[in-house]
Symmetry: C2
Subunit: 81 residues, 2 copies
Amino acid sequence: MKSNAIFYHAGCSVCASAEQALAGALDPARYDVEVVDFNDAPERIAEAEAAGVVSVPAYVIDGQPFHINFGASMAAVKGEE
Amino acid sequence: MKSNAIFYHAGCSVCASAEQALAGALDPARYDVEVVDFNDAPERIAEAEAAGVVSVPAYVIDGQPFHINFGASMAAVKGEE
């Protein structure tokens, strides 16, 4: 069974370079990769936070959050700061 | 030509979980992945810092640094803090 990997971002420049380098980098034989841009899918914010995502860009792989560099906090993504 | 990806870590628990999830996750058809543990190879610290690595665990992919979560600063790795 393939692992589930979701790359969350918010269109920031740090996000873009991470997406370019990492979103397509995982082994397609082992990972189903989904890319979620919170600008297009703000309804996905809650699930990301529930998985432990506190900043973007971030990967959630099999439910485990991996923050990659720092583009923006989730508070900023939600317009709270 | 394959891309060059180096996963730097220092044996910390955050490093271990990131290594488990990500060091073997890249597409082997497109990436040559090397894992460097600074405990075993302190002489590699300089090259990592030259690539922009400021904390571990981190990937350097085609020369670009991607810090993954936060295990330890490079200062801590070098025993400076």
